[in-house]
Symmetry: C4
């Protein structure tokens, strides 16, 4: 197998593993957060406005379809469904890492389908920070062009790199590459973790490099340590994945740290309902992204995906109604109770 | 079925569901509260005076029979028994929502029985805030007149409205309607939640509108999300009910928030013994209301109901004795220990 | 049955219930307390001096045999064994309530055996505060004389009075009776709870009345609510006992409150090892009393009782050694970690 | 059996018990500590430098092979394997107590093998503080010479002495002996607990006596109370061991207290992975020592031991990578979240 096909087939492996196994680990903290009920909401639930401004675009909902897939022919259908729903509901959507298609243009189809099916949607291209560093701004341009994206997400997955057989162990130069990109690139740059979260310190470094937004990618949802442990044939790597199962900053804790630094935020990692999205917004996020909860219905059928998105949107609207939030701005001002381990971690980090 | 009979038959459904299913969710917080024992109480338990002043009336006990039923012929017997016990023990009592009978006067019998059986009791009429807004002060007048009530409770059940098939999704204008009622109505107005609690902010809005008292209706007792989930034939509504099972402010937390705002308070939601009533009083409530714990014996027989009320009253008196409280005023000054999740939520909200 | 024999036979019932049933409830808090280990104790474990001054006497150990029994012929043997061990080890010992023998002098034998077997031991007479109030200082004198006691413990058991069929529900006048006794009585007066603990407020009242010492009798050990529930033939009283199973101030919490008020303290209620005694001393007690853990071996044989006391004493000495405490004074200065629910309750009460 | 052979055969017993039974008790606290993830580590995992300066030596890793064995012929092979790995990876290593060989030079072989197999490694001699006090500086000199050690660890095991049949119950004079040793001995002196931890107060005494370093030996790993309970044939000693199963200061808590006092620190007691070593360093330790996790593979084969050490080292490097630590100094500055019981204990002790 060539290098390219390794990357590509790994993409298919991931989808299958995610659908057939419990790939979540830990607790993102949403269970420790409660929105303060407003018994006199003084608003019309059916007129609630979930429109959200994000990086210059107006999305119909803060529900963001988080980066998941593409790069292997089998993933095309999944991306098609996700894109059709994004178009239909005017949701923001990220594609999975485009590395495979950048390495091997024959694989572009599983990405280009997204723009074909979602001509008006806000799309995020996706590139690993290692690939950015190694291939420079040119790959970022090609990634954006491939799907005619509005923005690019540069993802970081150091944990996965560290524990997977094919991992790149050298993270040097990533910050410099990021700074260059932010200075020279005509599109907004989102820096995105993929399951270990962003600390206050890292958020400052990212903002300092000039990024337009941060995607939390916190601990408590899909766990790459778990996925890599399942994939590992080498028992030593399986053991290593095991040892890092509880590594990372829970999404809620990370959100509170990043919020202090400022700038637009997508909260992903363990959001599992429209109520979790509402909590994320109240805690300071602009969008709430989901990957795993959309993956399973997306692999089933477009109808299943529509039903899932409908349910999430309904939960969000009910949560907004019950907190008296007509708009996302209202929701962002709702008071919360924070308890338990999440509270302890936040207090430690204050 | 006409609109009216839908409302009416729903009332009967509710009673049956409540008796045959576990319809409680969460934790009202009373387990996290401990009354400080007074080893030298210096009082006579048999002379303890549980009389309580509330909105100008003198009740023999702070145990309040919370609003439950009426509006369907099958509910008449339950209301009769509740009323007979209210009369016998001089307890305050609320009737269930009178909407069905206001829509269809033929159903008044299940409400008027209450005043017939309890000619001297302090009775609260009951009307939804939506009906108040839509039908104005006239319905409030008719509701009070129907049972010759001393006060009216305007109940709020936004969560239930949001997730039930027949729900009214528009809460606009409720506060204005409430303000008008409080200004023009000759009877005291109690604003009452039904399971999600009242926050400090909402309490200020309610007091600002001129209400005479607040009934907490906190989280942790009878759960309408759970009842609606059980009733739901549409799986999407069942799912929605499920998602909101943990929505609401626990009664104890709400009580502490509302107390800061001031005014008479009825604590309902998850009180399950006379000790819980004592805790509620020590935490700042004037009355402690119960619905579910009285419903089951009331559906059985008058004797069963009497026994239940006797047990609650005995527990209250023992708790007063052991805290050295001769009167309700003494009890309201008893020190408490507050721990656990309840404490964390209270600290968060301070 | 006459009044006297009721009191007497109840005493025998209690012993049997305590030996055949789990009669403990809740948590006294000792598991939440840890003594700070001293890795360099600089003392000789075999030379540790556990002598303790208490109300003018010098006891060989802070282990106090808490008031338990007497008043029924069957209890004589238990008291004999306890007394022989008290004499042998120079431990302080309390007898159970002497009411039965004061009511019916024929029953004195089960008490007088204690002084016969323990001619030199520090003995505490025992009288209920209700009996003190009703019969005055004369009964206190007779109680002390009966066993030639060094002090008298006036016990309070309001919870038990409130929930037992024969209970005295009127606690009025107790404080005045106590004040009179303290003023006029030639012996030291210890005020003693029996399972619900003493609050800071009550401790101030007791000290104000002139008592020489306080016996905590805290929550978390032998539970009279549980015992009365087991004894109750009337289901309503069983239910009432059930409702009050978690009533009371845990021993550790009570100890911290009473310590702030000052004066000698016996900590009883849920101490279950010599380590617990050491913790109680470090938290501010002068003696650590045990009832239930000594009752079972005492009902078995003198040897079993000796073995139990030896084990407790050994644990105490090891705990002293490992905290570098040569004397009780050293132990009383040992630092502790306090965590969990106990810590939360203490913080609430500060 | 002579005194010497008792000491010697006990050493073999310990190894067997440790391999065949669960000999750990409690929680060292590492689960309550989380390292703050650095999403942009800017370092090369394969170039991470785990070199650590300790008492003048440069070790290749902070992983320290904690004192375990020697003194019985059967232990020779275990020490040989540990030594070979120490030499190969340039790890610091402590031998077990040399008392048996000091008492009976025929047993020296199981110690001298260590220096034979590890000619360049940093080795710590090991002597009990009781033996130091009783035999003076001469035994310390012989212990160091026996293995040509770079330093000597004076271990303290008061808990074990207190509860084991052969235990020395007198700890008087230990501090003076330690002070003399520190003043006169040409080698660095490490004072080492063996499972109960060092408090702030004790750390001050140790530093005051002139010791060069402290080995925490905290609670939460191998438990001598548990081992002695398993060894005990006398049921009273078994019971005593049982009673002290939860005695001691958890390693993390102890580490925080000792760090406040200053000086080099080895953290041992319940470290179970390279991540735990990383946490210990971030919390203020210089080295992270392990006994039990290395004992089992060392008893199996050299290969098993190598694999275990490789896994630990890999975990440490990944943890360093994910916190952006190129060096141990970087790691020592990484921020941590501390929660749960550990946090409560630390707050209590502040
Ligand atoms: C199957 C799958 C593939 C993913 N691939 C990518 C990817 O290529 N690029 C990326 O930035 N994030 C990727 N993610 C991470 C998600 O975008 C998201 O940050 C993370 O899964 C946490 O969200 P969740 O708990 O809702 O799944 C992937 C997630 C899943 C489940
Ligand atoms: C069967 C049932 C019917 C109820 N109907 C009403 C109602 O019509 N109006 C109202 O204000 N509250 C109603 N409630 C709410 C109660 O008054 C009370 O606030 C709530 O149940 C919490 O108390 P609980 O936990 O003791 O049941 C009802 C409760 C029950 C159990
Ligand atoms: C069988 C039994 C009888 C008791 N009788 C008395 C009594 O007569 N007077 C008294 O002051 N306390 C009495 N107590 C209470 C004890 O003195 C003690 O305060 C209480 O049991 C808590 O200690 P423990 O948890 O170690 O049992 C009795 C306890 C027991 C177990
Ligand atoms: C089998 C065994 C023997 C030990 N012998 C000694 C010893 O002789 N001297 C010493 O200082 N510590 C000794 N220890 C204690 C360890 O050095 C270490 O402090 C303790 O076991 C805690 O680490 P762990 O939880 O990783 O085992 C021994 C530990 C084990 C498991």
């Amino acid at each position: 197998m060539t290098r390219e096909t390794i990357t590509s087939s790994r993409k298919r492996d991931h989808l299958i593993i995610c659908c057939e196994n419990p790939v979540e680990a830990g607790d993102a903290g949403f269970g420790d957060v409660r929105l303060v009920h407003n018994a006199l909401p003084e608003c019309d639930m059916d007129a609630i406005d979930t429109r959200t401004r994000f990086l210059g675009a107006t999305l119909s909902s803060p529900l963001f379809i988080a980066a998941m897939t593409g790069g292997h022919p089998d993933t095309l259908e999944v991306n098609r469904r996700l894109a059709r729903v994004a178009e239909r509901y005017n949701l923001g959507m990220g594609v999975g890492s485009q590395r495979a298609a950048l390495e091997n243009p024959e694989l572009e189809g599983s990405f280009t389908v997204v723009r074909e099916e979602a001509p008006h949607a806000f799309l995020c291209a996706n590139l690993g920070i290692i690939q950015l560093r190694d291939h420079g701004i040119e790959w970022a341009e090609r990634a954006v062009e491939m799907i005619d994206a509005q923005a690019i997400a540069i993802h970081i997955n150091s944990l996965q790199e560290a524990i997977q057989p094919e991992g790149d162990h050298n993270a040097e130069g990533c910050l410099a590459a990021l700074r260059t990109l932010c200075e020279e690139f005509p599109y907004p740059v989102i820096v995105k973790e993929t399951g270990s979260g962003i600390s206050a310190e890292t958020a400052r470094a990212i903002r300092g490099a000039g990024a337009s937004a941060i995607d939390i990618g916190g601990y408590g949802g899909t766990s790459w340590a778990k996925i890599e442990r399942l994939r590992a044939s080498d028992p030593r790597l399986a053991e290593l994945g095991e040892a890092f199962l509880s590594w990372g900053i829970p999404t809620v804790v990370s959100l509170r740290e990043v919020r202090k630094v400022g700038g637009p935020i997508i909260a992903t990692g363990g959001l599992r309902s429209g109520i979790d999205i509402a909590k994320a917004i109240a805690l300071g996020a602009d969008l709430g992204g989901m990957a795993l909860p959309l993956l399973k219905p997306a692999m089933e059928s477009e109808d299943a995906l529509l039903a899932a998105v409908d349910a999430i949107q309904r939960e969000l609207e009910v949560a907004m109604f019950l907190t008296g939030s007509r708009t996302m701005r209202d929701l962002s001002n709702v008071r919360t109770y924070i308890t338990g381990l999440t509270r302890e971690m936040i207090e430690t980090s204050d």
